[in-house]
Symmetry: D2
């Protein structure tokens, strides 16, 4: 199936451009008879929304989701669920200047190369706005996983060089950075203010923790749990990597240290990040991913125009100086989609 469709059984098909009429998603294969309403979706969509604080773009997306199909009398029917968010507060004129100039770090040039045409307004399909559809689909998956006691929690663990050490899940949604460590949140905020004042941006690292997932989820050898999550997370704009459990640190460890011993009461550690041989162990799934600094900055940059001339570009628009906090709900959504899909695949073989 083509690139904007994902999922074997819980199939998600997103559509829409940043400055088109709407963005949205069709979720097909959703298990029937689960309660679902627009508030379930809206709640997650609000978490993704920009303009929530000085740390994110000033663009106001007063996004309202509408469920157009697949739900009847408050329950999923097993038929495709179309969820739509109409675009409002679209200022296309902001982007006129970039019609013929490729923004460094953006998809502008590669889209032009790949398709021979692109909707340049606001980045078109390559805009992070596309993730609204994912969040809607993820909200459906989350709702179902929640009924199975699976919880997915994401938080910003690093901004610039500032790293969180503590983890207080209650604190995450109480601060605009989605930091789980009240000790460092102010320092993180300062980092962001600093680059913002210069018209620049900064990167970060997000961590996702999943609890309650039973052992046995994941489909070796190619559709491993970690492999599917890696694909899903790397498909989020600005994400440049992923690591599970000890991750890159595993390179420096010995087997005797890295191996998680087993005891009568379960695993003695979780260097594996909850996945062995591509299958969930029943422990928490833990992974982290770097989010690159937002490409759209007011600092003048060198680039070329469509005729290949070297020019300078300043991206005015309205952009997040650090996109990591807003990547959290998107990553949670993608995680939920993958987990439910793989869980269904495990169900399938149970005769």
């Amino acid at each position: 199936m083509s690139g904007s469709v994902t999922g074997s059984l819980f199939t998600v098909s997103t559509f829409g451009e940043s400055h088109g009429k709407a963005v949205g998603v069709v979720v097909d294969g959703c298990p029937p008879n689960f309660p679902l309403n627009e508030e379930d979706i809206q709640k997650e969509l609000d978490r993704r929304r920009p303009g929530q604080s000085g740390f994110s773009t000033a663009r106001r997306e007063d996004d309202r989701v509408e469920i157009l199909s697949g739900v009847f009398e408050g329950k999923t029917t097993g038929t495709p669920i179309c969820m739509m968010v109409f675009n409002r507060d679209v200022r296309s004129e902001d982007y006129k200047t970039i019609q013929n100039r490729f923004r460094p770090g953006h998809g502008d040039w590669v889209y032009q190369q790949k398709y021979g045409i692109r909707d340049y307004r606001g980045g078109g399909r390559a805009s992070a706005r596309e993730t609204a559809g994912r969040v809607c689909a993820g909200a459906v998956a989350k709702k179902i996983l929640n009924t199975k006691s699976v919880k997915i929690v994401g938080h910003v663990i690093q901004v610039g060089k500032v790293r969180a050490e503590g983890f207080d899940s209650e604190f995450i949604e109480k601060n605009p950075l989605r930091c789980a460590d009240s000790e460092v949140v102010e320092e993180m905020a300062n980092q962001i203010r600093l680059v913002k004042d210069k018209g620049d941006s900064i990167g970060g690292i997000v961590e996702i923790r999943v609890s309650g997932l039973p052992a046995g989820i994941g489909e070796p050898v190619f559709d491993r749990l970690d492999a599917e999550l890696a694909k899903a997370i790397l498909s989020i704009p600005a994400v440049k990597g992923i690591e599970f459990g000890a991750g890159f640190k595993a390179a420096e460890m010995t087997g005797s240290t890295h191996n998680d011993a087993m005891t009568a009461s379960g695993f003695a550690g979780n260097h594996a990040g909850g996945v062995l041989a591509g299958i969930s162990t029943g422990q928490d799934i833990v992974f982290r991913f770097p989010v690159k600094p937002t490409s759209s900055i007011r600092v003048p940059q060198k680039t070329v125009d469509r005729d290949g001339n070297e020019v300078q570009i300043v991206t005015e628009g309205r952009h997040d100086p650090c996109i990591a906090p807003r990547a959290v709900p998107v990553a949670e959504a993608m995680t939920a989609i993958v987990l439910l899909d793989l869980w269904m695949r495990q169900n399938a073989r149970a005769f």
Copy 2:
């Protein structure tokens, strides 16, 4: 499609267990009329083979590949190519002791949980031996990509805390560690000898570089080039993460530093690792991934048996003290499979 099948158009279906009759692969959708013979495959398979030096397992796998279909008079016909490697030098008795004990860090326990049954001999399907089929499939993809001037080169960039800085591609296949830096190779080797003497193992990091790939490859929004590579690489046993270009370091960078400026002669840098918005830029594709320390060690470890009793386990067998060098050809193979598949998808839309 199910978990041991991958690829949209260049479809790869591996089969076989470590101590079964054979391992192998069926490649379907291969472009026709490309020269292919068993030596093309064997060459890559030999690079994967264990027992090449004191640094890898003493098990002798004198693997000979046999092409059973899909090639006629020295050329691919476009029909499925079955490649088979019969298992030899199988000592199942080595594994009798682990029949009822779950090895920490291995797939033993999760396979049992997932399927309710497992071929415990040599790790069965979860054994790294499964990757022989991938290397065969990858050799086919590589052969075709080579005719398009695409080169895929992997090397071990880190073992324990020893990090290579230099990069001499000629040196890689001249040393058993597949290190590209002659300055550090001895230090890496010492690291490995050290842990090997203790019956322990150590992790490492592998880097893959792809040159010659044209711009425009990758299928947003979900089947991005980096997302597909991430899935493919994470599906390799023992791999715990991946990063492209600046990777995790991007978290500490500003947009003005991270963004690769464009000039009349191309991109001025490659922090992106050759991928923007999930599409190749025409630059080198560069990514790295951590390989955990081999789980099978002679150091006694705590675990449980099938009845849940706490027991000790010592994995005798024959195992690599550092698996990273052997992960190189496997990762190259998976990379080739992904690149060819996505390239075909790009071809598809060209009317």
Copy 3:
């Protein structure tokens, strides 16, 4: 992928229920840079519309399609094309009586069995109204195929026992039955009036002819051109079979009669229906399919209610006495979707 999504590269995902807010479709993987506007879609949608004559349902579906994404400045961009038709003229009260009674010949009972829930209003997802989305997607495929000189023409070749013999493609859209034979159209119409007067319905047979398709399209051994078309056509509500070329008559033929001889100027006949070994021959693709009599009839029928009690049912609503004419544009649409998808797959291997 799940059941409401189809197509390997040209991927079509329909959604919507008969009496929900909207029906529609997302087309992903569409080749970029082809001209497309709403009129291209509307034209086909109008052909499918009920209420065009006394022979079809009196329900007025003044369907207007809206393109929400994937088209920019009048051209496809290669990104997902969402097309939406909002439901109007919905009289749900008509269906209150069938909430607890399963209509014979309908999906009511099996949907309840399968999903444990169903949107009973107007047949919900099982309604033929779902095909509006298919027609929209097919219109896109048709537009592209037309630029390649591929023409897809459908017509009603049989109603009841009345069989058309002549074929005048110009005549098809000039009569409400979409009959290509002016000699028999009146007799067909009489057949329909006869059953309509009794509150009954009647079946028919539709034939599709495709011209201009090059040789080489179709993906053996499973995704043969005829196999994919068979699946696509059988997925249309009320269709109960398919046959290519000589079809069922081939059973009575000898090889020497059935085989189409080859000459310097091409094939001497077309008993094969334009497909050999699952691959197009370059001749016309010709197939026929039976459409069962509409299940919704005013004739009282025996059925059961949700409690298993035997009851009678009369389906009032507004229904076509013969659905075959309206199946024509739907079948053309499904044909176009399959042809374009398989053509793209053939393109993919051309390096």
Copy 4:
């Protein structure tokens, strides 16, 4: 996925050419813990074998299947099952004459057009020999379905103009024609002898009946049970159509006659062939398909050579004068594969 791979969850990947080293199949996604051994497979393979009587080709295929993976201690493990049949009794010299002449009714010419190359020996991949792999895969599916009380029975219902009316399932495997009607079997046999004596061939119709399938199997709107079966059956060489239940006869029926009434004890009839709205009703699944007369005949035929010259061709080789009886086990196999796959998809959504 590519054309020689089929199935969403129970994924079947066949390989091999008529005169290559082997034909075979990889089945991935098989439910674990089901008893399976080579005899289960061999039994079905023997039913497909040619040379069983004077009515089929004299080529001796003393096929022995070998299970190479995925089965451990007599049970499926859930990992890929590779089944291999090595080619023996291959007389490639028979086919030298057809290297440059395209046999009418065969895939020779279209394969050459599609791939630009073909293994001409014995028809290569387009040979019916390819179906051996399908029968192996189907045997696995059948074994599992049998444990769920699903029975799949096929029989030849028509040869030439001779139509069976009676149905005695016990009789089917007792005659080489797989006819279920002892009254007409001799007449059928005469038909075949008649054409055989002339070096010609004749077509037939096969009927498949499935009992024991629960209601609720099939995935609307595209992956309907009947649509998936249609694709699977049409993917068998020489099959030119399919019809369910009343099939093409439905064209002549009224709704009041065709609709199967429901009663407290179930459906009152089965004009639908066991499928409504693409979902199984719990009744018998009943469908029929025409098998064209074998293309390979000794009657001289007109054709062209690779240079486009008009030539005559006589296909010597060893061929079935009527292939319908041997299509029976292949169709049963494809049916089993589809049913198990769709059943697993239904299982998937059961939380």
